[in-house]
Amino acid sequence: GGDSDEGTGAGSKSFAAGSTMEKLNKAQKIKIGTKFDQPGFGLKGLSGKPEGFDVEIAKIIVKELGIPEDKIEWVETPSKVREDSIVNGTVDLVAATYTINDKRKERIAFAGPYYEAGQNIMVRKDDSSITGPDSFKDGTKKVCSVVGSTPLEEIKKHVKDVATQVVPFDTYDKCRDALKQGQVDAVTTDNVILLGYIAKDEASFKMAGDNFTKEPYGIGVKKEDAAFRTFINDTLEKAFADGSWKKAWDNTAGKFGATLGNPPTVNRY
C-alpha cells in the first residue's frame, strides 16, 4: 500500500496489555517467515526484498499492528522448518503458502485462510498422457514434489509404487528442472506454485487437469496465542472487505493469470 506511514510507531495503536500485538507494537519490530523461492507468493530476487502475495498479506497485518514496513525482518522459512520456526519463536508469524491442516494444528495455530488453493499437476507441454492424479495408477509415471510438504503425502495415495514413482526434492525449483529435463514426468503441488512456473516458461509446461484437493492457506502463529490469531482474522476480514486483499493479489500472483474468486471465510476455531 502507498499510505504505509500512516499510524505507525510505538503506541500508535492500542492493544490489550500483555498481548502479542502490544509487544510487537512497542518493539516496532517483527520477524516474518516466508518463502524466498516462490514466484507470486514469496520470491527474493535481485532487489534483495521478498515479493509476492504472502508478502503483501503479511504487510497488511504489519500495518495493522502499527509497525512500518521497513521494520520487518524477513526470514526464509522453507516448508520443512515452518512449525519449528513458530514454536521456537524464530519468527512471530509465518505466511508461506501454508496449508491449514489438523496435523499442523497440533503444534501451531492458523489464522485465515486468506486464499484457497488446490493441488494440481504440471507436465511438459507436449505430454498428453497425464490428465489427473489417476494417471499415476499404472505405476510408470514419475512425479516430483518437495520433502515435508502436503502435496507429497497426498500424491502418495494416488501412485502404485511410492518408492519408484515419487521423487522428493528439497525445493520445487529442482522438481521443475527435473521435469524440464525429462527426469520426472510431472510435478505436483498447489496450483498457484505451478502457475508461477508456467507463467515464466509457457513454452515448456502446462497444467494437467483441475485442482484435486482444497488447500486453504493460513497464517501460522503460536498455538496458545488465541488473541493474536483473532487479531489476524479480523485484519484479514477487513482486508477482504476494503479491497486491499484483491489489490495485493492483482499486483502479485494475479499477474500469472490465476483467478481469485471470492474471499474465503475465515475459520475461527
Binding site: D84, V147, T164, V167, F169, Q183
Partner: protein, 235 residues
Amino acid sequence: MNVLIDRFDVFAGGFWLTFQICLLAAIGALILGAVVAVLRISPVPPLRAVGTAYVTVFRNMPLTVVMFFAAFGLPALGSNADFLRIPLLDQVFSRLGADLPYFRFALIALVLYTAAFVCEALRSGVNAVPPGQAEAARSLGLTFGQNLRHVVLPQSWKASVVPLGSVIIAMIKNSALVGFFGVAGDLSQSADQLTSAEGYAFIPVAIGISIGYLIMTVPLGALLDRLEKRQAVAR
C-alpha cells in the same frame, strides 16, 4: 528415544544408501585421482599444467558449488550423466529407488571434488620417499621405469595410505551434503525427513544419525592413527 527403535529401518536404510554412495564415490575418486596424479608428475609441461589446474580448481571451490555445477551445468550441456548408467551400476541405483540424475550428479560432484585430494595424497606419498632412494637407484644404473617400479612406487604407496585414508574419511563426511542436495534417503536427509516431516523429537534423531556417521569415520580414523604410529616407529 523410541524413534531409534521404531524407525530403525529408516536409519539402517539411510546408512546403507550413504555407504553405497561412499563406496561408489571412493572408487571413482581413487581412479580419477590417480590419473590426475600421473598428470601432475609427468615430465610433459602441458599435462602437468592440466593436472595442476584441476587440483587448484577443485581444492579451492566449495563442494557445494561443485554439486550445483554438476546439477545445473550438465543438464545445460544437454547431459543427464547417462554415461554413468553402466548396466550393473544402474541396477544398484534403481534398487535404491534412486535411479535419478540427481543421484548421478551428486556422485559426479563427489568424485570430481575428492579426486583432487586423492591426487595430492598420492603425490605426497611420492614426495615422502627420501630423494636418496631414487639417487641410489639411479647410481646403480636403473632406468627411470625400473626406478619407479622397483624403488619409488613401492615405498610411496606406503606413505600414501594414511593420507588417502584421511581423504576417504573426509569424503564420507562430505557425502552428507548429498542429502541436502536432492538425493533422498541418505543418512543426513533421513534426519531432515524424520524431524521435519514426521515430527519426531530432534535429539534422538540427531543421536541416531550421528552414530551412523561415526560408525564409518571413527574406526577408520583409529585404524589410520595406528597405521601412522606404526610407520613412524618403523622409520
